[in-house]
Symmetry: C2
Subunit: 197 residues, 2 copies
Amino acid sequence: MPRWKPDAAERLQAAALDLFDEQGFERTTIAEIAQRAGLTQRTFFNHFTDKREVLFILSAELQQRIVQEIATCDDTTPPLDTVVRALEAVAETVLEQRRTVTARRHAVVTANPELHERELSKNAALTTAIATELHTRGHPRQTAFLAAGAAMLAQQAAFHQWTTPGETRTLSHLLTEAVHSLSTTVSNPATRKSHQR
Amino acid sequence: MPRWKPDAAERLQAAALDLFDEQGFERTTIAEIAQRAGLTQRTFFNHFTDKREVLFILSAELQQRIVQEIATCDDTTPPLDTVVRALEAVAETVLEQRRTVTARRHAVVTANPELHERELSKNAALTTAIATELHTRGHPRQTAFLAAGAAMLAQQAAFHQWTTPGETRTLSHLLTEAVHSLSTTVSNPATRKSHQR
DNA sequence: TGACGTGATTGCAGCTTGTGCAATCACCGT
DNA sequence: ACGGTGATTGCACAAGCTGCAATCACGTCA
């Protein structure tokens, strides 16, 4: 038998998700989480720099895969479509499974301001990572940032719909619809002047 | 003579900005800030719920003014333009003055992850406030959110340019340019299909 | 077989953030 | 003169987080 049970980080995450769900984020102490995972408070901080980080194990790998997906994309497709396709692909292969776990985690995150704040931070990091990748692929900095931000905006809207109780459509489908809505919202023929430099 | 010197919150903010600039956010304790402002650690927490909040005094008033600006706008203008005009108006009357202070504060905020995180949170709160206002003015929820998010995205891009050393153009000008760039980036004729419901 | 390095875990001491509660004390209206 | 108001403060305390040293099974290598 091994000296320690394996997958300490995952066990800590599971315990934290349960406890945050049961009694809320603030009313849960690190010691409680560690105890439920059969570990110690000190060990918790060996795995996570932060109390909040325990719910964001996936985001690093997620970001890596999305950037990778962008890197292996046709150079001729416009930047926004590149990002959207990458988001769709990753959403398909990792979010669409574990729909229930994702929903539970999302509920916990949005229920607490501190966790929500951290999620915003992760989204921002992902946005700049995407923008950087687009920039290295030849797009100007501003274009890269706007494309990345627009895609993430649509992703957020789609995700919000995807996690509403009655929804059955796939996240990928909702994302393309959201992009379309964004397109019509932004490029409204009205007051936008031609205004070229 | 008054028993206490006035403007405690402002004094605390000034002291905090100085100290964060000099020695960084993490290496500055609340006691230090309070002491430099001639107050106590306990008093600091009477004014701010958080160590980070001391740099975000303005954001509440800013949000209020922007929402107000949207409320007093012609109903016929498309939602994105409504938000952009509101942002321009407020940027004109409060950001464009104190350009140096704003730049200093922005440098400190972006230099520290925790402060940056809080700024993202404030931006998100502003986005949902704008979206809510647009929704009460009759726009569907998704359109309202996308318009608010798109405007904030352009605002972020414009602000980034505005705070680069060589820049002399006005923030309002940069914002309209950013919106135009976003428009061409999003409504690229390429792969976006008509795709109506 | 026995010595040794590795690495995950743990205990402990300590600092900082943030909160609850009670006390102080100038100011203001009556 | 008297009592209410409100900003400030001290004190005690919980919780987050860090640095440092120690433990101890496991694998390796002589």
